[in-house]
């Protein structure tokens, strides 16, 4: 990439928007995932009885919680992919066209 193209892209407000929004979105989702997982781990380490509490029958609170984390991990990747493959890719395409690199 030559210096002129770099300048052009760097000064394109769409590029600035893309970088800012995607990066903040990715970090937010990452932190959400980390909080969910480490909250689970810390409950296991400090208060395992919470997850072992009965939900009326034999099934314990830990079962829906565990299954929910698995489903959540999948769902959160879906959330990212939907926005990235739609909104962000559209923006990227426009940036490339404006830089004459599409």
């Amino acid at each position: 990439m030559d210096q002129a193209t770099i300048e052009k892209i760097r000064n394109n407000p769409k590029y600035q928007k893309l970088v800012k929004e995607r990066s903040s979105f990715a970090w937010k989702l990452t932190i959400t995932m980390l909080v969910v997982y480490y909250a689970f781990i810390l409950v296991i380490a400090f208060s395992p009885a919470t997850l072992g509490a009965s939900m009326g029958g034999i099934t314990t609170v830990g079962i829906p919680v565990g299954l929910a984390i698995i489903v959540f991990s999948f769902a959160i990747t879906g959330v990212y992919v939907k926005r990235a493959n739609g909104e962000f890719d559209k923006l990227t395409q426009e940036i490339k066209e404006e830089a004459g690199k599409a």
């Binding site: 590029y15 990715a26 400090f46 314990t60």
Partner: protein, 549 residues
């Protein structure tokens, strides 16, 4: 019993990710259905290899299948790479033995994937060509960074391979009634054939087929268990807790993760380790663009998550259907072949001899798929990073580079066979743990900071990465698994089984410190080159496309 539990805990993550069967195993009588189905699998995969070989001409074809794999296919292949025989047998065995704790492990193996998607996948795709070292060395000095990255890759691959080979030998001995050495040689030879002739294209399809077979087989087993329980988890749990010697305890966390340091350290090893495994990272170069790379992770996470849900049901199903059935127990009322055989016996309980044969063949196929991916990644580090970039300074002839890669594959295959046989009776539990620790402490920090931090310099990356690698190795040796269990000392010098928390911090701090204090002219140029790299990583301008055919 208590001792077995302890041993299992010590092996835990290693066990999940690698060698399915530990310790002595009994050779079974020849299982004809399994062998027939295995031959069908081998014939089909060799057919695919032949087909792939005719389409594998350039280096790009060999390393990345021409970059034309779709996101959905790649998602299946990633799942095929990640769901080893041991995560199938090991996690269902852990659920069978301890109930809820098995679920905790599965979750640890899953949560790294969303983070890989948000942080790594698309930048990696936009910057890289064949190996993750392409990305790490994008704006840094080629020779030192590639050498370190190749070293990290090869170490990870060989440790992982040994664990897989030993697990494979024992599993096959148990399932098919073959000699251990014979089983290891068959695995090694088939893997050499797939990779040398069919390259990434054959490896990918072997993984896709294996993933479909494994998911179908596990779905059938879980379905039969749910039929038996009237599609009520509550009924399944009620039956299981009535039978299981630990009773209601299997419904709650049972001390698998006891102290917070170990818990966090294990979490870091699993998360960052997954994001630093060369054979996993390499898969992102097989798709056309960032869009497909993202889809790959979406599908992979779905398949892997679904698979862990199944293993949980399978483990509980085995408690109900296997643990009381004298057909599957030895004289001491223990399950034949050990806890990791729970899923295998369950397959017989729900589907008879034929389905047992199917699941056994799938387990074998699973091992083949995982070792093929590993070997290809190791061979690429040798041919693309060491030979073409370091020795030939990037001017290697493409056909020669492919040739080197094939020689490297054969060499790695032979090394894997020899080490697999040598380590038959050794305690290999630490190996996958160490592989994950090296991936998390050397490969991942360099890769991550090269993409995210402008001020990274060659000096920082090399010194910090080496520190991380050395710390990981040292702490594993001084830790309880090697220092106490293998070397027989009374007390571990380093008290934790998982060093990642410490070695990853050392790597990051080392890289940071030796980068910011680097005042050389090269360092300035490397920082200046960050912006062009960053723009490419964000927009994909200049990224490798798919080849035309």
């Amino acid at each position: 019993m208590g001792k077995i539990l302890l041993a299992l805990l010590a092996l835990a993550p290693a066990l999940m990710a690698a060698g399915a069967i530990e310790g002595e195993v009994q050779k079974q009588s020849l299982n004809v259905a399994a062998i027939v189905m295995f031959f069908i699998f081998v014939a089909a995969t060799l057919g695919i290899t032949y087909w792939s070989a005719r389409r594998t001409k350039t280096a790009k074809d060999f390393y990345t299948a021409g970059g034309g794999i779709t996101g959905f296919q790649n998602g299946l292949a990633i799942a095929g790479d990640y769901m080893s025989a041991a995560s199938f047998l090991g996690i269902s065995g852990l659920v069978y033995l301890k109930g809820y704790d098995g679920l905790i492990y599965s979750i640890g193996f899953l949560v790294g994937w969303p983070v890989i998607l948000f942080m790594v996948a698309e930048r990696l795709r936009n910057l890289g060509k064949f190996t993750f070292a392409d990305v790490a060395s994008y704006r840094l000095r080629q020779t030192p960074i590639r050498t370190l990255a190749a070293f990290g890759s090869i170490a990870t691959v060989i440790l992982y391979l040994i664990a897989q080979m030993v697990g494979a030998g024992k599993l096959i001995q148990l399932l098919f009634g073959m000699e251990y050495e014979f089983a290891v040689i068959i695995v090694g030879v088939l893997m050499i054939i797939y990779v040398t002739f069919g390259g990434m294209l054959a490896t990918t399809w072997v993984q896709i087929i294996k993933a479909i077979l494994l998911l179908s087989g596990a779905t059938f087993m879980a379905f039969m268990v749910m039929v038996m329980s009237g599609f009520s988890l509550e009924t399944l749990f009620t039956h299981a807790t009535q039978i299981h010697p630990k009773g209601l305890e299997i419904m709650a966390p049972g001390g698998l993760v006891s102290d917070p340091i170990s818990a966090i350290s294990l979490g870091i090893a699993l998360m960052f380790g997954t994001a630093g495994l060369p054979h996993i990272l390499m898969r992102f170069f097989t798709v056309a663009d960032a869009k497909e790379a993202r889809k790959s992770v979406f599908y992979a996470t779905g398949f892997i998550g679904y698979f862990y849900l199944l293993t949980f049901i399978i483990g509980f199903g085995a408690i109900v259907l296997v643990s009381q059935n004298p057909q599957y127990l030895d004289a001491a009322q223990k399950i034949l072949g050990g806890n990791n055989m729970a899923a295998i016996h369950l397959s017989h309980a729900v589907g008879g001899d034929l389905f047992l044969g199917f699941i056994s063949a799938v387990a074998f196929a699973t091992i083949l798929a995982v070792v093929s991916g590993l070997t290809l990644a190791g061979a690429s580090a040798i041919s693309h990073d060491l030979y073409a970039s370091v020795l030939q300074k990037g001017n290697a002839d493409q056909q020669k580079e492919i040739k080197v890669s094939k020689y490297a594959t054969v060499a790695l295959g032979i090394i894997a066979i020899i080490l697999g046989i040598m380590f038959e009776k050794q305690n290999i539990a630490f190996m996958v743990g160490l592989a994950f620790a090296i991936a998390a402490s050397a490969n991942f920090p360099i890769l991550f900071l090269s993409m995210f931090w402008k001020n990274l310099t060659t000096r920082g990356a090399v010194i910090g990465g080496s520190l991380g690698l050395a710390t990981a190795v040292l702490l594993v040796i001084l830790g309880p698994i090697v220092w106490v269990d293998i070397l027989g000392n009374a007390q571990a010098i380093f008290p934790y089984k998982y060093p990642a928390l410490f070695s990853v911090i050392i790597a990051f701090v080392g890289i940071w410190f030796f980068s910011i204090t680097d005042k050389s002219g090269d360092a300035e140029k490397e920082k200046e080159a960050y912006e062009a790299q960053f723009i490419r990583s964000q927009t994909g301008i200049g990224a490798e496309g798919a080849s035309a055919h």
